[in-house]
């Protein structure tokens, strides 16, 4: 039995991130949207407006928390205070899963607040998988790791990135948040074929897909979440959906955030592509 089936991971449809410029519109008008993703840390606070806003969001929409600061690949001990706050949030939201990134974000002496890639090797797989198991035990709900965009490669890497993702997920028995734009960005920056990545991911573990826009900096591509999803990324998305079936999908737009209608239209585009792709490949939907 696949991971999604075993944990009864639902297909939430296509959603968007819950971001400040849209708070008033979303909470006031309650526009149609399949689901929302929140940045966990923004709501791991004492109270006030953030918590009030999230409470109102929950009245209408499914909400899934997505973290950026777990630093699962770090070498300093997992932050107990962080995990306690995350658990409290998860207990309140009761989401079908929660997620963070396959990366590291700091050392004992500094938090870089970035999603730094990890060396791709067997030792790192073991290191990360052990920590994922602790996090999953602590949270008590399905937990997924997202592949990150990367701009550097380590001397200590001896396997492709997709192997690191797959091995960690298998060994830790966790889910994958598959960011198709990140695949494109890393493939461009490191010069590999993104299709190999898409085809190598253990699709039964993919609980969610991210789509986003990026910025071409000339010599490399930066994952900025500041634009429309590019055509090449839509094509990779269709390829991923063909393999994975109906997986919850989310449009990330975090910088130069457009009007609600523009964001909503981008979600509608994903919804339509997903529908059309699954209609062409009916076998995919049945796959767990």
């Amino acid at each position: 039995m696949g991971y999604r089936q075993k944990h009864a991971i639902p297909d939430l449809g296509v959603g968007v991130g819950f971001r400040v410029p849209h708070f008033t519109h979303v909470l006031g008008e309650r526009p149609p949207m399949d689901w929302f993703e929140i940045i966990s840390e923004n709501f791991m606070v004492r109270g006030g407006r953030p918590i009030a806003n999230l409470g109102r969001l929950l009245e209408t929409y499914p909400v899934v928390p997505h973290g950026v600061s777990l630093s699962i690949g770090g070498t300093n001990p997992l932050d107990r205070d962080y995990l306690a706050k995350l658990k409290k949030l998860v207990e309140w939201l009761e989401p079908p899963w929660c997620s963070d990134h396959l990366c590291w974000g700091g050392t004992g002496s500094v938090n870089i607040h970035d999603l730094l890639p990890l060396p791709q090797n067997r030792k790192v797989v073991e290191h990360v998988a052990d920590r994922v198991k602790k996090v999953q035990d602590h949270l008590g709900i399905p937990f997924a790791l997202e592949n990150v965009s990367s701009y550097m490669s380590y001397r200590e890497s001896d396997m492709p990135e997709w192997e690191l993702v797959a091995e960690v997920a298998e060994r830790a028995d966790c889910g994958i948040l598959f960011d198709v734009n990140n695949v494109f960005v890393s493939a461009h920056n490191h010069g590999f074929d993104p299709n190999l990545y898409i085809d190598a991911i253990p699709v039964d573990r993919v609980v969610q897909i991210h789509l986003a826009g990026h910025t071409d900096k000339g010599r490399y591509i930066l994952d900025t979440h500041s634009d429309f999803v590019r055509d090449e990324v839509w094509a990779l998305y269709a390829r991923a959906i063909r393999r994975a079936g109906a997986v919850s999908t989310l449009i990330e737009w975090d910088d130069e955030i457009p009007e609600w209608d523009v964001l909503s239209a981008e979600a509608a585009k994903a919804r339509e592509l997903r529908r059309a792709t699954l209609a062409e490949a009916p076998g995919a939907e049945a796959r767990p």
Binding site: E41, Y82, I112, D114, R155
Partner: protein
């Protein structure tokens, strides 16, 4: 470099350097020990992508939280202060929300900013807004509590204030300056002028109220848990007010605080 913690310590150290790494031959050599360049970027250029992002992200977050301070220091001046702060007190908390918590103290201690008390006070004022935004909630005072208070109970009563309330005794009218900056109005940095005020979460928005010296002297004592009777005596002594005149003001002040939702309990 083989060991994961050694590699991470190296990367963490490198991304915190303010100047671009590629022009530094030593940095380029060191980067080669941990990273492998490709046709697009050399090892040190890869590292520099993260270094650049480190400053964009953290200085950007500080800019968002301290708009009036940025206005006072100017673009480049704010960059200098923010970078010096990040170097002296590297970010430790998991959330960027807490990044600026120690900036007021830094500006008070560190040259050249320490020479002008307006810097630290403006930062202290702006930080109160960050703190008020996600302060725990508390329902307003139940009017029945006031009704139930016996006449002779007031002197021993303690007032509990809303957790979002920060009381500030500043050397500048920071509230007027920040409001003008945020409204995009042309405004000069304020001159020294002692200003007492309170920042708090209003009904839906963050608010600031200026306080007269007597009210400030009283409310700060009450907020420290001093019972009403003793707090009044101390406030009268400090402000050298005429006791009867001071006492005549208290009812009005208290009503104002309650209306703004500052008072959440009487014990």
């Amino acid at each position: 470099m083989k060991n994961l913690s050694e590699i991470q310590a190296f990367v963490a150290r490198s991304v915190q350097r303010r100047d671009p790494l590629p022009p530094d031959p030593a940095a380029a050599r060191e980067a080669e020990l941990a990273l492998v360049g490709n046709a697009r970027l050399s090892a040190v250029e890869m590292l520099d992508v993260y270094r650049e992002q480190f400053f964009l992200r953290h200085v950007g977050a500080l800019r968002e939280d301290f708009p009036a301070l940025e206005h006072m220091l100017g673009d480049a001046g704010f960059d200098d202060a923010a970078c010096a702060y990040l170097a002296a007190i590297p970010p430790r908390d998991f959330s960027l929300r807490d990044l600026g918590a120690r900036l007021p103290g830094f500006l008070r201690e560190a040259a050249p900013w320490s020479a002008d008390p307006r810097h630290a006070d403006l930062a202290r004022f702006e930080w109160a807004y960050v703190d008020a935004w996600d302060a725990p909630d508390a329902p307003p005072l139940d009017p029945a509590k006031i009704a139930a208070m016996p006449e002779d109970g007031w002197a021993r009563a303690r007032v509990v204030f809303h957790p979002s309330l920060t009381l500030l005794d500043l050397c500048i009218p920071a509230h007027r300056y920040r409001a003008a900056v945020r409204a995009g109005e042309p405004v000069e940095p304020p001159s020294l002028e002692r200003t007492m005020c309170a920042v708090y979460m209003g009904h839906e928005t963050l608010e600031c109220a200026e306080l007269e010296p007597g009210a400030y002297a009283l409310v700060t004592r009450l907020a420290r848990g001093v019972p009403l009777g003793a707090a009044c005596e101390e406030a009268v002594a400090e402000t050298r007010a005429e006791p009867a005149a001071f006492e005549a003001e208290i009812g009005g002040w208290f009503q104002g605080w309650t209306q703004r939702g500052w008072v959440v309990d009487l014990t």
